[in-house]
Symmetry: C2
Subunit: 346 residues, 2 copies
């Protein structure tokens, strides 16, 4: 790495400008916890104003920080509604944990652990955040066996003793969605979910079942019909057609994802019905797709996910024992036009 020609500013210049000793400038850069907040602000302002950057020996700096945290990005994950917001939230919040993120990629078809092995072998990261866990996921046991610090966004499904994870309570999310529909005046609450067997999908469906059971009675049930579709707009439209056939104005559909909710939305629009006014629709993920189409949606708490993941990684980096249980976060409903019911006067 060449020295950049423009960096002629020295630690003396910064010390003079900020009215502090050189040691204080050094501490500001290397050990900020030893410097008072006021001084820290003043020295950092001088550093920024003068364009000072510590060179040569200061390169070891990087290794003194709490950590370079690896996060794998998949080509396939590019279109995942949660990838970009989680990555952005992690990048922004990492600075508060005196850490930074190092995303690394694997081309499609690469065996799952290859990227992790290479990043670790090259000592490019001090820890990992593992995302999109699934049953039989080889990554948590591989990391645990080597004592590599990590946190998982997504439960470690196979081993309850692995507790360094944060996840979103899907059942709580669909429960809130059903309750919101009932409060908004919808009568029967249908469900469009994913085919049985996906851990996330089954979790989300269970909240719909529980909330309908809790709100309905034998004489006045809340349970509507249900249908399933893969996570694909065409499949969602195909499944939503027959489901909507079974509904009456004033009913609503809670969905396992925003893509499925968009399928219901498109079927309603094609039939000249207005989502919300005629049939309610709630998605899940709080994605841009939901926002664009004014779909109410159960939103993933991205900032809280990022904060908790970073807290878990830091604890692992400090060598603290794993917590007694994983962190299950509550999602919150984003209300939009698709659950605004305008009942016609009788």
């Amino acid at each position: 790495m060449p020295q950049s020609e423009g960096s002629r500013v020295t630690i003396h210049d910064v010390a003079r400008a900020a009215g502090v000793s050189r040691q204080t400038v050094s501490n500001t850069v290397n050990n900020p916890e030893r410097v008072s907040p006021d001084t820290l602000d003043r020295v950092r302002a001088a550093i920024a104003d003068l364009g000072y950057h510590p060179s040569s020996s200061a390169k070891s700096l990087r290794s003194r920080r709490a950590g370079a945290i690896g996060l794998e990005l998949h080509t396939l994950g590019t279109h995942n509604a949660t990838t970009a917001p989680v990555l952005t939230a992690l990048s922004i919040r990492a600075a508060y944990h005196d850490a930074h993120l190092v995303p690394f990629g694997s081309a499609e078809g690469t065996p799952m652990l290859e990227g992790y092995k290479a990043m670790w072998a090259g000592r490019l990261v001090d820890a990992f955040i593992v995302a999109e866990t699934h049953h039989g996921d080889p990554r948590p046991p591989w990391l645990e066996a080597r004592g590599i610090p990590y946190a998982s966004f997504g439960r470690v499904w196979d081993d309850p003793t692995f507790t360094r994870w944060v996840d979103v309570d899907g059942a709580a999310g669909t429960r809130v969605a059903v309750e919101h529909c009932i409060d908004a005046g919808y009568r029967t609450i249908a469900y469009l979910g994913w085919p049985q067997g996906s851990v996330v999908g089954d979790d989300r469906r269970s909240g719909w079942v529980a909330a309908c059971d809790a709100a309905g009675t034998a004489s006045s049930p809340v349970h509507g019909p249900e249908a399933v579709a893969e996570q694909d707009l065409d499949a969602a439209i195909a499944a939503a057609g027959p489901l909507v056939d079974l509904l009456s104005p004033g009913d609503a559909v809670v969905c396992a994802s925003d893509v499925l909710a968009l399928g219901v939305h498109q079927v309603l629009v094609r039939r000249g019905l207005e989502p919300g006014r005629d049939i309610g629709v709630v998605g899940f993920d709080g994605s841009e797709t939901a926002a664009m189409h004014h779909l109410s949606s159960v939103a993933q708490p991205f900032d809280a996910i990022a904060e908790e993941s970073l807290r878990l990684v830091r604890a692992a980096l400090r060598g603290e024992p794993a917590p007694t249980a994983g962190s299950l976060l509550l999602p919150a409903l984003t209300r939009a036009r698709s659950t605004r019911l305008h009942r016609k006067e009788p």
Copy 2:
């Protein structure tokens, strides 16, 4: 940073397993250019198999690599159709350049240069890739003045002497879109763009004008009507309604973005018309939104953007002079159902 307890594998173990000297293992990790490709593969395989990672002294490794490249992520950019794919492509390709990406975030409302100043002052990165440039952008002059290595994804509009940029030729993209529509049998090609004055939007519109001029004659013009909308689905739907009123079956609309194209799509669907069969629609960006709704779209060449950005950064890191001109890449059309015309037999 604690040593991970699981890492008991030593450089001896790797040397023995790969049948090479310890120096060769060290070179594989620290100076791979000194090792033959075959040996490199063999030693890296042994490193991966054994789970070896160089510890303690090897930490200086990081600073020997070609670079930690900072990339700013905005909270607002989370929903930008190009942010996630560019970031993923950069992360995957960085490894081939012996570099890695360090995304950093700025909360909304933070002055533009703050994050750059902090990352540079803390020596957390060796270079930057600047994205989403605009007129009056303070970043390129700030970086140039300090001799900080960087490349820009997006032209540096204000100073033609700043040539370390890669961008996509928007006019070429819309030209290809118009030509595709004419080839597919559409007659009049309308345009839905952004309000005049955005550099990217004006560039894209100019390709539509040029291609219609080139393909049409006085007696048989290709130019259709045009309308403008902000980059927002509601605005696009509102603008697309009156535009579609002016069209006949067999006409097409080329759009400045996938969001605008989705607006046209939604208007057609609401009127019981089928995009493609009745009215052609082409978007721009190659986003997931386009893919979901089967919209033909001018796709940004994400891999080429990433590769060229990294090449420019490496050259800057090596202290090479700036190239004589920026790199303008050609986008390519992704064909889908929205430009499949089925003319009724007369």
